[in-house]
Each structure stands twice: as structure tokens, then as C-alpha cells.
Amino acid sequence: MRINAGLLSAELLKVRKRWLVYILLAVLIGGAAVQIWLLGYVSWRTDDVEYRADALRSFVLPYALPALLETGQSWGSVIVGILISSAVATEYSWGTVRQAVLRGQTRAEYLTVKLLGLTLISTAMLLLTLAAGILFSLMATSIAGLPITFDAPGGPNAFEAIIMVLRTGYCILPYALMAFCLTVVGRSTALGVAGTLMFVFGEAIIMGILLGIGGVWADIAAFLPAHNVNAIMAANRIGYFNSPAMRDIGLSASELPDPWVAALLIGVYCVGLLALAYAVFQKRDMTAGAGAS
């Protein structure tokens, strides 16, 4: 398989010239600002004692880090899904996918380069958002007159912080690949975005229902990606079990699968989605007018 810096550079050129990338980045950074300033700092300044501790954890480091990552995982999955769906489907509508393939690039190479390019762009967007979130946190902490320190009980060291970020990225992966797979198969931005959104939100509802019924149904829920993503993301919250995010999912750590098992199951989902996308793309007739919406 021929994958080189020139091909990646060309892929990045195509994506970074699109306004959508910058709009989505602005949405992500806007989300981080809402979390730190509105849900954190502004809420903390209110006199409502019940929520002051939660609000403090939303904007003061090190507690703000897992909170930012938690939000980044859920909204990041949606944003990355939109980016991937658009970038893949427009190649059909512009006819450029046929141009790439008839130049001798194999179909597997084409998909791989696209996937790598989008991974790089998405990673840069998410890291920029995290950096902005941390900057907002430092600013809000300073304005609040609170000490800026990572030295808190159960707080992560630098290595653990990196692992937390990697865990979050891994938990975005199944949704990003779902958008990729749906768009490759359906050749449509609308299908990729709508399908991913329906899955993200529909899965949460279905999981809630299955867990509510209990018994064997709850066991089925354990195989859903969201349940396993929760398990992995919960590992980010070790030492932070009083965080609002932990209570939101209505589970204690003991009810979630082992993070390694969860990671394995998520990996199976990812491989399955990739295999489907590659298999369909490999066999597909690329006729004129097989456009995308």
C-alpha cells in the first residue's frame, strides 16, 4: 500500500481549505467556553450552595480536565462525525473520488489516506479545543482568586493526563468510524451525519431502557458501544467520583465493565465498521452521477 507524506499533505490541503473545519472548531471551542464560564464560573458565583461544589469542579483544574474531556468525547464525536461525513461524501458529489482511483491509487489506499488525513485534522481540532478549555480554566480560576495547581487529592500527573486524553480519543473513535462507514456506504453527508446522530442519541435511550428493564436486557446493553465508552471514560474520573458527570450516567464504577474489556469491545466495533467500509468501497461500481447529498 502506497501511503506517503505527499498524499497525506494533499489530503490535508483538501480538508483545511474548507470553511466547515473552522466552523466546527469554533463550535467546539464555544462549547468549552460554555462549560468553563457558564456552567463553571458563573454557576459557582451564585449563592446556590448545592451546586457550588459541582460548579467549582467544572472550571478549576485539575477537576476541569476530566470534565472537559467528558464533554469533548460526547460533542467531539458528533462534530468529528459531521466533518468526516462531509469530507467523504463531497468527494462523490464532486466526482473527485473517481479521479483519484483512475490515477492508479488503489481503493484501499484512497480510503486509508482519507482516514489518516481526517484523523490528523480531527485530532488537531480536539487538542486545540482542549488547549482553549484549559486556557479558559486558568483564566477563570485566576479571576475567581483560586490557586492554580494540579496538586489535588487523586489528581493526575502529566503521564496520567496524557492517558486521559488518549482514552477520550479512543472513545470518539467508534462514532467517527460509524460516520465514516455510513458515508462510504451511503455516499451521502446527510446519511452519515443523521445516522451517527441517531445512533449517538438513540443508543443512549435504548441503553437506558434496557438497563431499566434489567435481567438479560441489561446484559445486552453491556454490548452497546455507549456502555463501554462510559466504562473507559469512567477511568478518567478515578478520584473524582463525586463529579456531576459520574452521577449523570446513574452508575457506580462497579456496574461498568472492566475498562480493558470495554476497550476490546470498542476495538471490535471499530474493526467491524472499517471492514464494512473497505469491503463496500472495494466492490462498488463508480458510475458517473453517483453523487452525494
Binding site: G6, A10, K17, W94, T96, V101, R103, G104, M286, A288
Partner: protein, 308 residues
């Protein structure tokens, strides 16, 4: 007229067929495109031309048969074959938000071994050098078509496969395009071009293949096809006697009276022999001229359809 005379066939289809359910878009197609020639691929709308080109380029999988490019079976050596091939497909393919230069940068990365200098060269060649930094979504249809040609020529391919490449070009652009294709052929490139502009094909192509309903009706050199339609128009002193005399000559393919004159299907170079034969039988010519013969006439005759 089933096989093109050539020492080396660059593009060959062997029993190529494509079915969509019960509908056969292409049936048992056996094309041969010789090296260094411009081969016109003609047929009415829906004849299977674009489907054939898509199969040649590996975009569509044949139901039966296979394609050989440079002697390589594309079922096993598609990438190798395509690295030596440039193509324009019907319907444009470009990144509208990128400049002409950046579009070619993207294609250059896929082709590999293309220098930035080469990108400038092909942009100049197609007349887009002055607009290279403009976004393609500001281009006219003809400029986009030129960009497509620049993309096809980017990696200096040995074979060009062009599907309706003059769509969107104005008459001057079509003429420039024709001259460019002739230059490329003179430089040893092989060109396989589908077009519905029969007059252009006649001027541009050395060989022609005509398909109808997915079947190859005929292929051969343009000169041979035009020769088949060769005829002389004559006015004579005694038409009835002239018909008798001419029909007795074995190399005269047909004699048809038409609006006060006779149309004699015979080689133009034997006009003097015809004149002598008539004079020997006391029939004298008052007018003799070659009838215009065109690829369009031949196309209409063999397909039984309108040119478009």
C-alpha cells in the same frame, strides 16, 4: 473491417460485457487501440461508450471479459496500467474550493513523480497559466474542461482516455483541443476519445470504433471508412445507357440516379476509366465531380440513427 492494423496494441478489450440486471449495457466488446494513434469511440447516446471507458479505467467491474492496457490485464495490474494512463471523464471532477494549481497538486501527489514545474507547464499548455491561483468555482465550463485536460496530461501519460472531452468548449477551444491531440499523437501518445462531434472526430482521429446498443458494429481507420462512402456524381448525355455501361463494370459498387445526375459508387482515382468507358459507348460527360464523403454519413449508415 474488424481489426485495426498495427504493430502494437496499447488498449484492448477482450469479450468485454457489462450487465445491469437483465439490461446489457456492453456486449462482447473487442476494441483494439494501436500505439501512437488517435482512436475515436463513437456511438449514439446510451450505446455503452461511458460504461466501456469506466471499465477500461477500473471504475466499473466488467460482468464478463477483461481489459488489457499496455499488455497488462487490468484485473491483476490495474494500478500499473493506470499510472501510465491519463483520463478525462464525462462530468467534471475537481475541488471547487481549491485553485487550479492546488487541484493539480492534489492529483500530482496521487500520480507521484510530478514536479511543481510540470504543474506550471501543463497549466500553460492548456491556457490556464494566468488563472492558476484562482479558485476553480470561479471558472467557466470551458476552463474547467481545460483543467481536466491539464490533470490528464500531468504525469505525461502514454495513453489518454478521454470521454467527451470537448463538452463545454467553444469552437475556438475545440479547434485548439483538436490540434493539441494531434500534437500529442505526433509525439507518440495514444489517444482513445469518445465524442459525439463526428466532424471533429473525422478531423482528429486516425481510427474509429462505432458501437450501438453495447455492440461494436465496426472499427478501422477513418480513411478506410471514408473510402467506403466514396462516390462520383456525374451528368451524362444518356442516363439510361450510362447506367447499363456502368453496372457492367465489376469495380463499380452501385449506380443511383438522383435529381438529374448519377451517383456512382466507385474509387475516385478511377474516374478517368469511367469516363473512357462511357465515351467508348457514345455516352458523354457534361459534369463529373467527387461526392463529399463524411464520417457522419458513414456513422448514420451503419447505426441507422441520428448523429447525436
Amino acid at each position: 473491417m474488424t481489426s485495426v492494423q498495427s504493430t502494437e496494441v496499447v488498449l484492448r478489450t477482450v469479450g468485454l460485457a457489462k450487465n445491469y440486471g437483465r439490461f446489457s449495457a456492453v456486449k462482447d466488446l473487442a476494441l483494439e487501440v494501436p500505439r501512437g494513434r488517435v482512436y475515436g469511440f463513437l456511438g449514439p447516446n446510451g450505446a455503452g461508450k461511458s460504461t466501456t471507458i469506466a471499465m477500461v479505467l477500473g471504475l466499473i467491474a466488467p460482468t464478463e471479459g477483461h481489459v488489457e492496457v499496455f499488455g497488462l490485464d487490468t484485473r491483476e495490474h490495474l494500478a500499473e496500467a493506470l499510472y501510465r494512463t491519463g483520463a478525462i471523464l464525462e462530468g467534471q471532477a475537481y475541488y471547487p474550493l481549491l485553485s487550479a494549481y492546488d487541484n493539480l497538486r492534489v492529483w500530482a501527489a496521487i500520480n507521484g513523480n510530478v514536479t511543481m514545474q510540470r504543474i506550471d507547464e501543463v497549466l500553460e499548455l492548456v491556457g490556464l497559466g494566468g488563472r492558476k491561483n484562482d479558485k476553480v468555482n470561479t471558472f467557466s465550463q470551458g476552463m474547467k474542461q481545460r483543467l481536466g485536460l491539464a490533470g490528464a496530461l500531468l504525469h505525461d501519460p502514454e495513453l489518454l482516455v478521454l470521454d467527451e472531452p470537448t463538452n463545454g468548449l467553444d469552437p475556438a477551444g475545440i479547434r485548439e483541443f483538436r490540434e493539441l491531440i494531434r500534437q500529442l499523437a505526433a509525439a507518440g501518445k495514444t489517444v482513445f476519445v469518445s465524442s459525439h462531434l463526428l466532424g471533429e472526430v473525422q478531423l482528429m482521429c486516425d481510427d474509429v470504433g462505432i458501437v450501438k446498443n453495447g455492440l461494436l458494429i465496426t472499427q478501422g481507420s477513418v480513411a478506410d471508412m471514408l473510402r467506403q462512402g466514396e462516390a462520383l456524381e456525374m451528368r451524362v448525355t444518356d442516363a439510361t445507357r450510362a447506367i447499363e455501361v456502368l453496372q457492367a463494370i465489376d469495380w463499380v459498387r452501385g449506380v443511383t440516379p438522383s435529381e438529374g445526375h448519377l451517383v456512382v459508387e466507385a474509387p475516385l482515382e478511377r474516374a478517368a476509366e469511367l469516363s473512357k468507358a462511357l465515351a467508348d459507348n457514345q455516352v458523354y460527360l457534361s459534369e463529373l465531380r467527387p461526392r463529399d464523403s463524411s464520417l457522419e454519413d458513414f456513422f448514420l449508415e451503419v447505426t441507422g440513427e441520428d448523429a447525436d
